[in-house]
Every structure is written in C-alpha cells, then in structure tokens.
Amino acid sequence: MRTMKVRLLFFAVLRDIAGADARELALSEGTTARDVWQSLRAQYAKLTDYTQPPMIAINETYAAPETVLRDGDELAFIPPVAGG
C-alpha cells in the first residue's frame, strides 16, 4: 500500500495545542480529512472531547470531512472563524 505526503497546517487554538505551525504527514491511500482529525484527537488531550472536526480546508478551499486526501494536499482544520 502506497503512502501519500500531506501537509497539515495549524492555526489559532490548534497551533497553540499542537505547538507548531505545520506538520508533514505520511498517510496511507484512502485517508480522509476526518481520519486525520481522529488521529489528532488521539494525540492531544485537549481535542479528545471534539468528536466532530471543525471546518476543513483542502488546498485553501472548504471541503467535506469525508474527502479523500491526495498526495501533495495541504490540509487545515479551521476552528470557528472570528474575523471582522
């Protein structure tokens, strides 16, 4: 089974929790954005309670949690926005 490289970006509260701006992920084919969120929940206690992922952006465009990631994608979880 082949692996893909996906760049995961962290913003706002998620950057604080992860302690990083970004991470390079090596994922197996078929991995969805939701799958990545579940792995983050397993890694960070502060996310455990968040069974549903926040909004998701793939390559700077909003996408559904079930979207299957592709090699080279840039993935970001978008905490509740608060611009303005």
Partner: protein
C-alpha cells in the same frame, strides 16, 4: 490590492480607492477592538489568519456581492496581529449611486466575512487570554 494587512488601516484611502463620480453615497464600516466581550474586560486582540485562503475567500465574497449589486463598488481590508482597544480590525467601503445598495452591500460584506473567512482572534484581558469561539464548542 491585498485584503489583509499588518499595518494600521487608513479608511480614507479605502474610500478614495472606490469612489467614482457617479456615486452619490458610500457606507464605511469599521470593526473596532472594544474593551469588553461577553461580560469580560478586553485589553487587546491578536488576529491570526490562514492568509492565502483568507485572501481567496474575501475575493469570492466581494465578487459575489458585486454581482448581486452591480452598481456597488466594494473595498475591504482586514488587519492582522496585535490590536489594542480603539484600533480598527476591519474596514469595508461600499460606494454606490444610491444609498440603499451601499448600506445593504456593506452589511452583507461584514456578515459574510464573519461566517467563512479563516481569521481568528485571541482576546487578552486581566483574566487571561482565549481564542474566541473555541471554548464549549465540543
């Protein structure tokens, strides 16, 4: 022109950028850091963004509203970084031959920005700091 800036916003320059001789009105909205939120004192706000995506989302919203209001010209800039009470985080100008469209387009612009543009704020006050909208979401 980029929609995001790290500098102090100059609303007058924004107005100059959009006004045409056929415009009979403009509406300028500025969002300003206020000294309170949800009953707590606020001293400053840190604005963060997913910059390239935020630029794209702003552009999408501007185009969508200008297509709904063909007579309206819009300009928008959102500031990022650390802002203290009284400083403006966003300025939106809607210029139009007639005032109704200017009011509606300006208000629609700020409402839409608050819904989808990936910008976040961390409020700082005497009781500590917090990313707005995250707590209690789960």
């Amino acid at each position: 022109m980029p929609y995001l800036t790290d500098e102090v916003i100059d609303p007058h320059a924004l107005v100059q950028r959009v006004m045409r001789e056929s415009d009979g009105a403009y509406v300028l909205f500025e969002g300003v850091v206020r000294n309170h939120h949800d009953g707590k004192a606020v001293q400053s706000i840190l604005y963060d963004a997913y910059r390239p995506m935020a630029e794209k989302e702003m552009e999408l919203i501007v185009r969508d509203i200008e297509s709904q209001y063909p007579d309206v010209a819009l300009a928008v800039v959102h500031r990022l970084g650390q802002l203290v009470v009284g400083e403006s985080s966003i300025a939106i100008v809607a210029a139009s031959p007639h005032r109704r469209e200017a009011f509606e387009a300006c208000r629609m612009m700020i409402d839409r920005i608050k819904e989808t543009v990936p910008i976040w704020k961390k409020e700082r006050g005497p009781d500590g700091e917090e990313w707005v909208g995250w707590q209690g979401r789960c």
